[in-house]
Symmetry: C2
Subunit: 321 residues, 2 copies
């Protein structure tokens, strides 16, 4: 029987550029816990070089085909590309809708494209908990561009703007007030808006509409003005324009320390989130907290205590220096 390779040996193989070791380390990151922390602690010093581009938008907007085209262009420019696709877990089967293999077949032979699908935390398309860690791993593995694809349902829209340096919102020309209003939610987070399926008869009108809405936005002097790009992943048009605008946004961030500030903000919020996760786990693990909670909840159910009265009592079991 072959033994499972140790984390140490995986990390060594990873440092030597072995894809299979990287893939196994990602699985460890997905599983979380102490092993995941050990992996991250060990690789973190080699991170900080990858530029992160988020692609979000409603299901059916053609994000995956667009990513295929964009990846080909970035490869032609000699970028080493990591791709993380967050698959919404199917509410009925519990499994992911798509796998790596069918998703990026076009690049499956290219050793400089590393694709990984992660199942979303909830079925509503939220970003997987370990996305940051997997991005770090691809970064440490030498990818200088990491593309993160999320489905714009659920909380992912907000979260992607906490993880990516450039956020690309992918839309398709569609009618209906509902869709229009929904776009309003995405308006805030996009650095670049792609109107995909440019061969559609309504495409130019829809792009103009987005542009008009963006004009209402109050952008401080010198800050980035979101751009709208027409593409057709099927007809392969507009992809160069999109790459140009992504690079323009990247140059904009490089000016005046904007990029460094953004990177710091992202890292601070990661530490804060990880700390709160840990606090929650520790509170759950405390017998005293659990017993007091169980007891007091009975009073809450009977209407004798308000939820805040219980919180104030629980709080007293915690001391912070």
């Amino acid at each position: 029987m072959r033994e499972r390779p140790s984390i140490e040996s995986l990390l060594e193989l990873f440092a030597d550029g072995k894809v299979s070791a990287a893939a196994r380390l990602i699985t460890i990151l997905e599983d979380g816990g102490k092993d995941a922390e050990r992996v991250l602690d060990s690789i973190f010093q080699r991170t900080g070089n990858a530029y992160r581009i988020g692609f979000t938008g409603p299901p059916g907007a053609g994000k995956s085909s667009l990513l295929n085209r964009v990846t080909a262009k970035f490869r032609a420019k000699d970028h080493r590309v990591g791709i993380i696709a967050i698959d919404p877990t199917s509410p009925f089967t519990g499994g992911a809708f798509l796998g790596d293999r069918i998703r990026m077949q076009a690049h499956s032979e290219d050793p400089d494209v590393f694709v990984r699908s992660l199942a979303s935390r909830g079925s509503l398309g939220g970003i997987s908990n370990c996305t940051d860690e997997v991005v770090d791993l691809m970064d440490a593995f030498g990818k200088d561009l990491v593309l993160i694809e999320t489905v714009g349902v659920g909380q992912s829209e907000l979260e992607i703007s906490e993880k990516a340096h450039t956020v690309v919102v992918v839309l398709v020309p569609e009618s209906g007030d509902g869709i229009q209003a929904m776009k309003a939610g995405l308006m805030e987070i996009g650095d670049i808006f792609v109107m995909n399926k440019a061969d559609h008869e309504d495409a130019e009108g829809a792009a103009r509409e987005i542009q008009d809405t963006l004009r209402l936005k109050d952008i401080p002097e010198g800050e980035w003005e979101p751009k709208v790009v027409l593409t057709s992943a099927r007809e392969e048009t507009g992809i160069d324009d999109l790459i140009d605008v992504i690079e323009e946004h990247r140059r904009h961030l490089d000016e005046g320390g904007r990029f460094a500030n953004m990177r710091k903000k992202i890292l601070r919020s990661r530490v804060r989130n990880a700390l709160m996760d840990r606090m929650e786990r520790r509170l759950r693990a405390s017998d005293k907290v659990r017993e007091l909670l169980e007891q007091r909840m009975e009073s809450v159910y009977r209407g004798e205590m308000s939820p805040y009265m219980v919180v104030r009592e629980l709080e007293e079991l915690v001391s912070i220096q």
Copy 2:
């Protein structure tokens, strides 16, 4: 100059059934902090009687008109109705899109209908932080039905199922793969699916499609099977059917202690969330935590420490009994 009424006097007027006092107390709940807690502590013992129904769905699905019709029917059955409409904050103006007044004009003369709009936390349609508290206030004010309307963008879908006893998902017949896939996210949380705009030519087909998707769901023996109802708020058809199905779901919950269990689950998650909010505030308020964080973040920026190393150090400043 008239003095601002004290919380005590507002609570007295509230107990006497004064609408203006209830409205001012809601504003206090919205502002949060110690005053909000005092209000909740004082009214909580009078809560527990209101049945909570959530209405969610994409913008433009006609939720507001449907709520108007539903409210009229519930009033005809002598229910006292509270309505909380979560308005997505406009990303550009920061204000709410709609106000109470234009929203429910039909019931503005009815003292037994209490309408309040709350601005959503984020612009992506999340539920306002104080929704639970405002529901409690309406409950304590004697409303026996509280309808909560949220826009199905952002995180609200998930959250509504943690706040409402019955979740009604309102949809309209529309084509497009994107819309279909998006519905998949809503499939999980709806107890009742309304296909609104039943006069639309595609309505019956769309309703059948939802029904077919729901059939794929693995529902344990004896559990609620989500129902699909065709309505037209404009034509006023199907509203009675909807009320019947809502009441059927309520009877289902009343059997075998399901309702009591659900209520307990909701209260437990409220206490847990409030406790975590408090922990976060206390961590932010600690000078030691802040200083250590600032210092260590510099090492993280330079890649010398991983985020988890910092978390493990910060954790040591916290002790839990």
